[in-house]
Amino acid sequence: MVSYLIYIGVAIGLFAFAATFALFAVYYERKLSAFIQDRIGPSETGKYGSLQTIADILKLIQKEIINPTATDKWLYALAPAIIFIAVYMGFAALPWAPGLVPSKINIGLYYIFAIISIETLGILMAGWGSNNKYSILGAMRSAAQIISYEIPAGFALISVVLICGSLDLQEISMQQGILFKEQTKFLGIWDVSGMGGIMSWNIFRAPHLIIAFVIYFIASLAESNRAPFDIPEAESELVAGFHTEYTGMRFGLIFLAEYSMMFLVSMVGVVLFLGAWNTPLPNIGSIHLAEWTTNVPWGIFWIFVKTLLLVTVQIWIRWTLPRLRVDQLMDLCWKVLTPLAFICMIISAVWRVWVMN
C-alpha cells in the first residue's frame, strides 16, 4: 500500500514542480524580455514585481469559464486538459540525479517522444472544438509544424541513441560521467575514463553530436510553438491561434502546458547531449572535483542549472528573432534540418563501429 502512496506523492510533486516552474518562468521571461527591449517589466506587485505572476494566476482562477454557444462542448472542455496531461506525463521518465528518477523504464526516451506527440491531438481538438476560423487555422498550422519537426528531432535523438546504445535515460546519463565503467574518449582520441567532467559529455564524446544538438534545439523550439516558430499563434493574423476562445483556468492550463513543455524539451536536450546530472568539473590529478560533485543533491543542482540555461536561450531567441514565414519554416525543416540529421545519424553509426571500439 505504501508504494502506491509513494507513486501518488511523486505524481503530485511533479505537478507542483511544473506549476511552480511555469509561474516563475513567466515572470523570468517578462523580466528578460524587458531587459532585452530596454524596458523595466513588471515592477508594481511585490519587490521587483516578483508577485506579478502569482497575482495573474489568482485572477485566472477566479475568472468565469465561458462556453461560447457554437463550440463542441466536450471537445472544447477536454482539449486543455489533454494538452497539459500529454506534457506532464513526459516528466515521469526524466532522470534527476544518480539513482533518482520517477519511473525507470528501459524505453524512457521513446516513451517521452510518444507521449509528447499526443499534444498535437489536443491542439487539433481545441481548434476544432472552438468552432472558430482563427482557432482552426492556428490548430492546423501548429499540427503541421509539430509533425514536420518531429522528423529532424527524432533523427537527432537516434544519433545519440546509437552512440549510447540505450533508450534508458538513466543509462544515457550515467555514460556521460565518472560513474561509467567502460572507456570514454574525448573527441574519440583522448582517453578520459575516470576523469569525467565536461569532456565526457555526449557532445564531446562524439563531436558531430554538436550539430545534432543544434538540430534538436531548433526542432524543440518548433515543437513547443515558441518564436521564431510561433505562426500558430501569430497575433497579427490569427488573434491567438488555437486558444483564441479560451478563458480562465482553461487558458491557464494551455499556458502551463507551454511552459512545462519548454522545461521538458530543454531537460531532454540536457540529458541527451549536455551530460545530464553530471558535473562539468573533471578530476585533475589528486583533486577529485568530479567525485566530490557527483551525488544526489549536486545532480539535481547541475541538471536544474543546465536546463534553466537552455530555457534562457529559448527566451532569448524568442525576443531576438522575427517570426518565420510558413514556407521558410517548411524549407528549413525539410531541406536543411532533415538531411543534416540524416548525416548525423550515419556519422553516429560509423563512429560507434570504428572510433569507439
Partner: protein, 182 residues
C-alpha cells in the same frame, strides 16, 4: 483480485465502451477523438501484458500519425461535406446490409467457437517452449531482444517491409507533384 486484475477490467471496459461509441456515434469528429481513447486504453492493456515497446509504438504510430492524418482529412473537407455524411439514413435493418450482416454473424460464431475451444491457460506451444527453455522472462531485456531479433532472424521481412514503405512514400510524392508545363 489484485491491482493488475482491476486495472485490466477497467481498461477493457474503456476499450469496449469507447469502441462502441466510435462505431455508433453520428458525430464523425467526436468519434475520431473517441478512437484516441480506444487506442490509448489498448496501449495500457499492452503494458499490462509486459509489451511496453508495443504499447509505445502503438501511441507513436496510431495517435501521433494515423489519427492526426484522419483529422487533417476532416478539417480540409469542410463542414457541409461532413453534414451530408452525417444525415444519411443509418438504419441497420436494410436489405443491402444483408451480406455484411451474414459475414459479421458467421465471423462472430467462429470467434466464439475459438474462444470456447482454446484452453488459454495451458496452450500447447507455450508449455512446450517453457520445457525447452526457449522463452524469455520479464527481465528488462525485452526491448533489446526485439532489436536483436529484427536485425538477425527477421532481417529479410524487416527489409521487405521497409521497401514497401519506401514505395508508398515515392508514390505519394509522385501523386502530389505538379504536372510539368509542356
Amino acid at each position: 483480485m489484485n491491482a493488475a486484475n482491476i486495472l485490466f477490467y477497467i481498461m477493457s471496459f474503456i476499450v469496449l465502451a469507447s469502441a462502441l461509441y466510435v462505431a455508433a456515434s453520428k458525430h464523425l469528429v467526436r468519434s475520431v477523438f473517441m478512437f484516441f481513447v480506444t487506442l490509448f486504453a489498448l496501449a495500457g492493456l499492452y503494458v499490462l501484458s509486459l509489451a511496453d515497446f508495443v504499447a509505445v509504438t502503438q501511441i507513436v504510430v496510431y495517435v501521433g500519425g494515423i489519427l492526426v492524418l484522419i483529422l487533417f482529412a476532416f478539417m480540409l473537407s469542410g463542414r457541409e461535406t461532413l453534414d451530408v455524411l452525417q444525415t444519411e439514413n443509418r438504419s441497420i435493418w436494410k436489405i443491402n446490409n444483408l451480406p455484411a450482416m451474414l459475414i459479421v454473424g458467421l465471423f462472430f460464431i467462429i470467434l466464439i467457437n475459438v474462444i470456447l475451444q482454446t484452453n488459454a491457460d495451458h496452450l500447447g506451444w507455450i508449455t512446450d517452449s517453457i520445457k525447452l527453455k526457449n522463452n524469455i522472462t520479464n527481465s528488462g531485456e525485452m526491448t533489446a531482444n526485439i532489436g536483436v531479433n529484427l536485425m538477425t532472424r527477421y532481417l529479410l521481412p524487416f527489409e521487405i517491409v521497409s521497401i514497401l514503405l519506401m514505395m508508398a512514400l515515392v508514390g505519394a510524392a509522385h501523386l502530389s507533384r505538379k504536372e510539368q508545363q509542356a
